[in-house]
Amino acid sequence: MGNVLFNAFSFLQKKLKAQDIPCVNAVLDLKDGQRVKDILDGLGITPQDIEGVFVNGKIAPLDTPLHDGDRIAALPPGTPGPYRLLLGLVSSPDKKSDKKKDPIKIEIRLFASLAPYANHGDMDSDGCLSFKAPATIRDAIQRLGVPEQEIKLVFLNGVGASLDSSLKDRDRVGIFPPIGGG
């Protein structure tokens, strides 16, 4: 049990106000186990009405579970700003129209003292990792649990790169720790 703080913006605010539904810093009851979708259903808001929902300041999927004291806000389509992309609105997790989710497979080699990280369950027998695009080398090493501070050199297809480099299907990544023995 508990409360959540609810806001609706733009057209949605107008629509809800017209129906006398509280939508400006409104405190709503929260039942155990309720998710975002449940709250919206209770207010008569359908998924088509919204482009995205904020939970505690970040865009989140509709099936996100809620806790006492959470803050949610519903946004209809039509928000300007590159912030749509940057805040994660454009590829709303509930939209099925996302074409860029073709998986990519990359070969990743971890050298010297980093070799044990290649034993991660996600690595296949060829030393490859599968991803949903887009992904960066950083995504790969995070997936394998390699701490960034243990990495000194990063190579992509045999050429020096950085953790921010984007990956495409069949790329080969090489990761080295510092090495200094003599």
Partner: protein, 281 residues
């Protein structure tokens, strides 16, 4: 019977090399004797002999991977090897056998017990003795035509560049990031190529660093020793032996002006996997 003719030609004999081709060779004993009689330093005797087309027998098994012409170039070359530990010792021994005529070797340390796992010339008799002195003596016995200057000092200061004045190639066989960066700065000052090598576990890398190309900084700039791979994996004998060999190949490429000398990619070898890869830095 003592030959009355004190000439190289008179002492040479015909020998067949690995390919079955004939070539003229001369043995060490004759070269030493002639040098003595003619009062010429031994290394010059070697040079004269090779220039006349007579190969010192010791180099027979280098042919034809290393030709007579190339052997002459090596005899007149000068290389500095900084660090006489796991990598350095083997490189010094190897360059001596190859016949690189002048070597400057640098290392302040004495052999200790922990060197026994991998360092050539470390044995029960040499524990406690300065490494460069041991090497100078041993390599004199291996190839007296190679003149070795032993510097029992650490190279830690860019102002030591004068020590490398006549050298053509510097070999990095160090084990400390800071020292490697200093050596790179010295090589930059002297405008000399630097053959970098390093090991950890069952692998290691080699890369030729050109003057002021900034690549040593990419390898060791801002590095904290703590998570360096050799501390986590150790350095058994295989990797220094392998990497030292790659470093020697790089030295040969540079001295002999081979095409491969223009390839400055990083070689990484992992003997355990096994794999050998090239990376562009």
């Amino acid at each position: 019977m003592m030959p009355k003719d004190h000439s190289l030609e008179s002492r040479a004999r015909i020998e067949k090399d690995c390919q079955g081709k004939s070539c003229r060779v001369i043995c060490d004993q004759d070269l030493l004797a002639l040098a003595d009689i003619l009062n010429i330093p031994l290394h010059q005797m070697y040079l004269q002999s090779m220039e006349k087309g007579i190969l010192p027998l010791r180099y027979l098994r280098n042919m034809p991977s290393i030709t007579l012409k190339e052997q002459i170039i090596l005899q007149t070359s000068q290389v500095a090897v900084v660090g006489a530990g796991g990598l350095g010792g083997r490189i010094i021994e190897g360059l001596s056998r190859l016949g690189v005529g002048t070597l400057h070797i640098f290392d302040p340390d004495l052999f200790d017990e922990t060197n026994l796992n991998r360092q050539i010339f470390a044995d029960q008799n040499t524990l406690g003795t300065p490494k460069v002195e041991v090497m100078q003596e041993c390599c004199r016995l291996i190839n007296p035509a190679v003149r070795i200057t032993a510097h029992r000092i650490a190279v830690k200061d860019q102002n030591q560049d004068a020590l490398f004045a006549d050298v053509q190639v510097i070999v990095d066989a160090l084990d400390t990031p800071g020292d490697r960066l200093t050596l790179a700065a010295i090589a930059g000052k002297c405008r000399l190529p630097l053959v970098h090598g390093t090991v950890a576990g069952f692998g290691g890398r080699v890369m030729v660093i050109h003057p002021l190309d900034g690549r040593m900084e990419m390898l060791y700039g801002g590095q904290e020793d703590a998570c360096s791979a050799e501390h986590q994996l150790g350095t058994p004998v295989l990797s220094p032996a392998l990497i030292a060999s790659f470093q020697m190949m790089a030295v040969l490429n540079l001295l002999l002006g081979k095409n491969q000398a223009t390839d400055n990619r990083m070689i990484y070898a992992d003997m355990e996997k096994p794999s050998l890869d090239l990376f562009e830095l």
